[in-house]
């Protein structure tokens, strides 16, 4: 593992316009990280429940995977998403949502990452994502 830049999360979140658009942040503890998505009215996809848009939950979990990869892998460029499978387990209510990524495998070029998102209770996730990501060559 390469040395970790302590500000890498802040740098990433500051530099990526879409991360600011949804308003996500991240708490880091060593090589572990919890991504945080505070509720905001513009994230709603169903006004009757009200519930977060499923696309936003998927996007948040994809960003969480990219962030986690940026912590553990020294990347010259952002990894590129190859595919994601998103499973919706419960409506994302008008509450703060959290997500954690589990990097299942990092190969030479491709990483496999699982992400789970929850709100009040981690054991009752609202959604999960599995994805493959193309890594860029490591920084020289």
């Amino acid at each position: 593992m390469t040395e970790v830049n302590p500000d890498i999360l802040a740098t990433f979140l500051e530099a990526v316009p879409y991360a600011r658009f949804i308003g996500m942040s991240a708490d880091r503890a060593g090589d572990e990280m919890t991504a945080v998505l505070p509720f905001s009215p513009h994230l709603v996809g169903n006004t009757h429940i009200p519930a977060l848009h499923g696309g936003v939950l998927g996007a948040f979990m994809e960003m969480t995977a990219l962030l986690q990869l940026s912590i553990i892998e020294s990347q010259r460029r952002q990894p590129r998403t190859i595919d994601v499978t998103i499973e919706y387990l419960r409506p994302g209510r008008a509450l703060t949502t959290y997500a954690r990524a589990d990097v299942r495998k990092v190969g030479r070029r491709i990483a496999n990452v699982h992400v789970e998102a929850w709100q009040e209770t981690r054991s009752s996730p609202v959604a999960a994502l599995r994805g493959h990501f193309m890594l860029s060559p490591p920084t020289a």
Partner: protein, 146 residues
């Protein structure tokens, strides 16, 4: 605007004008007929996912595809609500910076409780997709067992 049946126009209008996330992304209704629907999202600097390339965030495509899949289901499920069960998205290539992205969905099978949908995202040529998607949607108000 298309000359879709009125219930489809109503569903589409609701989805683009009364859904806060669709309004925030600027998703527009393009066309719909029973079984298929098309929407688009314009390029915007605040939706960029990779600041080095200026490419739109994958999440924008995810939300567009999820949303247009929902409308495709509603074209065959008049007045009913839907909930996404799962959605798989394959990214063939990056979206071209500066260009609007279209999402087109086809609801090819509807059972009493579940809808099956395929979708693509592209700039102007559906045969050169940015991404393809496949999803299953639960129909609200459907019987628990079919």
């Amino acid at each position: 605007m298309s000359d879709s049946p009125e219930y489809i126009e109503i569903a589409a209008g609701r989805m683009v004008r009364e859904t806060p996330q669709a309004v925030a992304l600027g998703i527009e209704f393009v066309s719909a007929e029973p079984g298929t629907a098309t929407m688009k999202v314009g390029y915007r600097a605040d939706l960029i996912g990779d600041p080095e390339t200026g490419v739109l965030a994958g999440g924008v495509i995810t939300t567009l595809l999820d949303h247009v899949c929902g409308l495709a289901v509603n074209t065959r499920h008049e007045g009913g609500g839907t909930a996404t069960l799962d959605l798989r998205i394959d990214y063939m290539r990056s979206a071209e910076p500066g260009r609007a992205v279209f999402g087109r969905a086809h609801c090819y099978k509807l059972t009493r409780s579940i809808a099956f949908v395929r979708a693509i995202a592209f700039e102007d040529d559906p045969d050169d997709p940015i991404a393809t998607a496949q999803g299953a949607f639960a129909l609200a108000g459907a019987p628990a067992k079919s």
